[in-house]
């Protein structure tokens, strides 16, 4: 499947989050327009706003006394608010590009994600700035740098809940998924579109009790990912990857939460990027340990889970090539 098509699927998977975020940005933009409208309104502004029909009929000064201005900005506060307005407009103009991160080959995945989230964070910084200006608490020396990018680490809980999610297109060789663990919080949704060979169980180390984790192959569906109301991470991987979905709402124990699990017929035994076959085997073993129903002591491996476990061990032969 072409990369653009997979990115389209990924974008669709985070659509509810994107829409919620854009709605909030639009509302803030409207709020800023509302705040700026009337800022510094002069008698001339009032005269004009009433239109020429009012000329000679309406006492403009008197009329102006009844136009509400209780939340208008002071002239001093208007410039930073205008900066916030520009920042938000810039974000809105990026449209879908804002939510798609194309990681250059060889780049550090975690650092790139951090940078893009800082750009998205400008929306929250702008809202923060507007709030300060409205309350008359904006201080140039303290707050001038607010719009220089608000890193995820600085996002409040409410802001994290409003995260639009991110689609990350990355080479399999650079797909060090563990690097994004710090960003999986409060409803964040990340979808990786992995190019080329990739570790077969790359996301296994992200499986934690509260996070929806899914690996899908080319024709896999991300509907459950989209429907999950909480933190979630998914990867669209090549067909030789493990396919699984870990849904925190599906059960109390870890293995109950694995709603799907399908291992490929054959798993490569070679390094991908900096991940050695041994490390990949560890990922698979971890997945198995998490997903497979434990076999009580003394029981043979005749039950399905035991057979699966044995097959896994066979597949992850550590003697293979380096």
């Amino acid at each position: 499947m072409p990369s653009e098509q997979r990115i389209g699927i990924a974008l669709e998977a985070i659509r509810p989050n994107r829409e919620r975020f854009l709605s909030a940005v639009s509302t803030t933009t409207e709020e800023i327009r509302g705040l700026l409208h009337g800022t510094g309104e002069t008698a001339d502004d009032q005269t004009v706003s009433l239109g020429q029909f009012a000329s000679g009929h309406v006492d403009v000064e008197r009329f102006a006394a009844f136009t509400r201005s209780d939340s208008r900005l002071t002239p001093e506060a208007s410039e930073p608010v205008r900066s916030a307005q520009r920042a938000l407009n810039d974000l809105l103009q990026m449209d879908e590009r804002l939510f798609v991160l194309e990681v250059e080959p060889g780049a550090n995945l975690g650092a790139e994600v951090d940078k893009r989230l800082a750009v998205i964070g400008d929306a929250f910084a702008a809202a923060h700035l507007v709030d300060l200006a409205k309350r008359g608490r904006y201080r140039e020396d303290q707050h001038a740098g607010l719009l220089d990018g608000l890193r995820y680490a600085g996002w409040s809980r409410a802001e994290r809940k409003l995260s639009p999610g991110l689609v990350v297109a990355v080479d399999g060789a650079d797909f060090a998924a563990a690097q994004v663990a710090p960003y999986l919080d409060e409803g964040m949704k990340l979808v990786f579109v992995v190019r080329g060979d990739a570790p077969a169980a790359a996301l296994s180390r992200l499986v934690t009790p509260g996070v929806f984790v899914q690996q899908a192959r080319e024709n896999g569906s991300l509907e459950a990912f989209t429907a999950f109301d909480g933190t979630a991470v998914a990867a669209l991987l090549p067909n030789d990857a493990v396919e699984f979905a870990h849904d925190p709402l599906a059960g109390d124990t870890t293995y109950e939460r694995f709603t799907t699990l399908d291992f490929p017929r054959e798993i490569r035994k070679r390094s991908i990027g900096g991940v050695s076959p041994a490390q990949q085997a560890e990922d698979l073993a971890l997945l198995e340990a998490l997903a497979v129903v434990p076999v009580p002591d003394g029981e043979s491996a005749s039950d399905p889970a035991g057979k699966l476990s044995a097959w896994l061990l066979n597949q992850t032969n550590l003697v293979g090539e380096k």
């Binding site: 509302t27 800023i32 509302g34 239109g51 029909f53 009929h57």
Partner: protein, 628 residues
């Protein structure tokens, strides 16, 4: 045929002229007149046009009821009304001409360019009708010029009904020395959506008309054109209102088609989407009001457009808008009534229903543009008032303004005419949805989605929390607060401007579209030494302040209106039973002054001469009264 015998052409210098183009419905009089009027305006003449439109879409041809046409008054100076009578008429048959004669629309010395074919028609009945019509019109000194419109048009087009009008336009172009290049551009504009050959044929017809006039007509009129220093635009009142609505930032116009208001939405539909708005044609008038109210409630700038019968249907929904204090602009293009009445004709009979036509106490602002230009600018002011006071504002125009074409200075658009984005900051804790300022009745406008602003909207009596409340004091407070806003708005109004002296024998008071004709009539009376002044009200609810004081400086006050009033002396009409004109009622109640009225509802605009005659009659009756 024609009148030019010796080759001598008489050119008469005149300050203005009034031309009628009258045809059967469907013979293109409107297009001919539109192009002629626009050409005059673009050449720098003042222009005012009035449409003559039958209410029926396809009335029987060649009858007095089939008359369709246009009256174009144009001159060197500013023209504000359609004048008294026409001085030249283009008539495609004797019967449509007869209808205008019977309405006394033609001057005694009117030049009539009449289709030549009917006199010798093969149809005996048509010949008989022609002879009888000419006999009836022989009481006047009209100058008839027989013109072979159909015969000449057939030389160029197969269907003369699609060509006679342009041939007639050629005659007028030659008689009034109009700029052919402007005419050609106007034709190209009007037929811009048709194949190029349509434009070419029409221009050929105009040139044929010019050639025929050069060959056959011995008279010309020269009306000096003074190009305007500023840029001007030419349009009718409905177009002006539509553009004004866009300029004021209207985002949604909800409507249901109704004559003569529909063309407002046609104009809007063509361009409003370019400015971020939409026109919504609802399933009926009631739904249109509901959609507009919903949009406004959601924070959008909303407008609904209608005419008399539509206003009646919208009544209940307008009451809801008033009750929940949603800003709303309503454009009512008045027509003759009651019921379906006179759909294409002018009347000013919706004044009282616009102000009071609502069960319960439902205060609203009512304002009336007086010129085509004001139709544009009134929309801007209406929006601002509606939003500032969270009120329904009704803009009353009429068919005279709606279909009359004039030119005015091109407005310099200003973004400050539009609503700024609503501040959607969280609602301060404790602020109630109807936290009325007890002095002004004003309260913060809350739109859906504002944090902390969640509340139930209800048309039932409600308290400050917007909760249904039948408590006596709660209902009293709500009514008082909604009414207070009207008083507050009135406190921002200034006394009306008086044309003429500030005191005298008679003050003529009008409202809306009659301004031009009244000012003309009062001007004539003043030229003859009469102490008459006039003022034209633009705000009817609330009324402009200071009226009682102004009236006290005149011996008599008289309204002039296009609506019904009893004529004193008519059977059964007594002091007790007499019904006054609608503005007169209003002014009498408001000022306790014995305001007189002269009203007429002929379905057409008032003539300055008729107003003048009634001014003189009023002055004479006042003098007699004083003498007695």
């Amino acid at each position: 045929m024609g009148t030019k015998a010796t080759g001598q052409v008489n050119v008469e210098e005149v300050p203005e002229h009034t031309v009628e183009i009258i045809t059967n419905s469907g013979e293109g009089a409107q297009k001919c007149a539109q192009i002629f009027g626009a050409t005059c305006a673009k050449m720098g003449n003042g222009v005012w046009t009035v449409e003559i439109i039958p209410a029926e879409i396809e009335p029987p041809h060649h009858t007095v009821t089939s008359t369709s046409g246009n009256i174009i008054r144009f001159g060197t100076g500013k023209i504000t009304n359609w004048g008294d009578q026409s001085k030249l008429a283009v008539a495609f048959n004797d019967q449509v001409l007869l209808s205008r004669h019977r309405l006394d629309s033609l001057r005694d010395d009117c030049i009539i360019l009449l289709e030549a074919a009917w006199k010798d028609s093969e149809d005996e009945e048509l010949r008989r009708m022609y002879d009888e019509a000419m006999e009836e019109m022989s009481s006047k000194n009209y100058r008839f010029v027989m013109v072979p419109y159909e015969e000449e048009a057939l030389k160029i087009v197969d269907n003369p009904n699609h060509g006679k009008n342009m041939f007639a336009l050629g005659l007028l172009a030659e008689i009034y020395q109009r700029d052919l290049s402007i005419i050609e551009k106007q034709i190209a504009h009007i037929f811009r959506f048709k194949p190029a050959k349509v434009t070419e044929k029409n221009i050929e017809l105009v040139k044929a008309g010019i050639a025929w006039a050069k060959e056959n007509l011995d008279f010309r009129f020269h009306i000096e054109s003074v190009p305007f220093e500023e840029e001007r635009i030419v349009m009718n009142g409905n177009q002006a209102a539509a553009l004004g609505a866009i300029a004021s930032g209207v985002e949604l116009c909800a409507m249901y088609p109704i004559t003569p208001a529909t063309s407002v939405s046609h104009e809007l539909a063509e361009i409003i989407e370019n400015y971020g708005g939409i026109v919504h044609q609802s399933e009926d008038e009631i739904a249109a009001a509901g959609v507009a109210i919903g949009a406004s409630y959601a924070g959008k700038v909303a407008l609904t457009v209608t005419s008399g019968p539509g206003m009646a249907l919208k009544t209940e929904f307008l009451a809801l808008a008033i009750m929940i204090e949603v800003p709303l602009v309503v454009l009512n293009v008045q027509r003759g009534g009651p019921s379906t009445g006179l759909p294409t004709k002018v009347e000013q009979s919706d004044l009282l229903s616009s102000i009071y036509g609502q069960p319960g106490d439902a205060p609203r602002v009512v304002m009336a543009p007086r010129t085509i230009e004001e139709c544009f600018h009134a929309m801007v002011t209406a929006r601002k008032i509606a939003e500032t006071f969270r009120m329904v504002v009704i803009v009353l125009t009429d068919a005279n303004l709606a279909t009359g074409v004039g030119q005015f200075t091109r407005p310099e658009l200003d973004v400050r005419w539009q609503q700024g984005a609503i501040d959607q900051s969280p609602i301060p804790e404790g602020l109630r949805p109807y936290e009325w300022d007890l002095e002004t009745g004003l309260s913060k406008r809350i739109i859906p989605g504002m944090p902390g602003g969640q509340h139930t909207v209800t048309g039932l009596a409600h308290d400050e929390e917007s909760l249904v409340s039948y408590h006596p004091s709660s209902n009293e407070l709500g009514i008082k607060m909604r009414s207070r806003k009207l008083a507050v708005f009135q406190s921002t109004l200034m006394p009306p401007e008086i044309h003429g002296d500030d005191e005298g024998d008679l003050l003529v008071v009008g409202w809306g579209s009659t301004q031009g004709a009244i000012v003309d009539a009062v001007g004539r009376a003043r030229e003859q030494g009469h102490k008459v002044s006039t003022c034209q009200l633009a705000f009817l609810s609330p009324l402009e302040p200071g009226l009682k004081k102004i009236f006290s400086r005149f011996n008599k006050v008289m309204t002039v209106e296009i609506n019904y009033s009893d004529t004193p002396g008519d059977p059964y009409v007594t002091e007790d039973s007499r019904r006054y004109g609608q503005l007169a009622w209003l002014l009498r109640a408001h000022t306790l002054v014995d305001v007189e009225c002269w009203t007429s509802c002929p379905g057409q605009p008032l003539r300055p001469r008729d107003i003048y005659n009634n001014i003189i009659a009023q002055l004479e009756s006042t003098e007699k009264g004083v003498a007695a």
